[in-house]
Symmetry: C2
Subunit: 89 residues, 2 copies
């Protein structure tokens, strides 16, 4: 975690949103929590807030819920990904 | 303060950086603290962290210090401004 990230961002929610916009990443809470190094319960809470804000939707796939970004979520993920990129350049 | 802003951002530092990239805004701590509705001492503390990170420089002008963004600061201000724009669209 860089000090620049901590100064400006709530890093976990930002990384989760950016990850959800990465075509190569698995779109399940369990996989996301591992990738962003966040507990499963905290990840689920952040995803719930994102769903309340209309940034993601979820679809039952057997016992799992597959998450996808809405158009609003995609539009926000882009400048946040660029922000992370600039911070780690 | 929108709930979207609070979910992803440390709003005061982000607004200060974006404001410093706005050509029409006054570049002094006192003016900035009023514009972002932040105490003067908190504003000065955030500006100090930004200077430590190489995002801003300051120049004595009489009794005041005029602040300007470095190239690194400008590069970070852009995606953060776009993030705020998407959140308030």
């Amino acid at each position: 975690l860089s000090s620049l990230e901590e100064l400006f961002l709530n890093v976990k929610p930002v990384k989760i949103l950016v990850l959800l916009n990465d075509p190569s990443s698995e779109k399940y809470a369990s996989a996301i929590s591992k990738k962003v190094d966040c507990t499963y319960s905290h990840t689920v809470r952040i995803l719930q807030r994102m769903e309340n804000e209309g940034l993601i939707t979820s679809n039952k796939k057997g016992r799992k819920k597959e998450i996808s970004l809405t158009e609003k979520g995609e539009k926000l993920a882009k400048p946040l990904a660029e922000t992370l990129h600039q911070m780690n350049f």
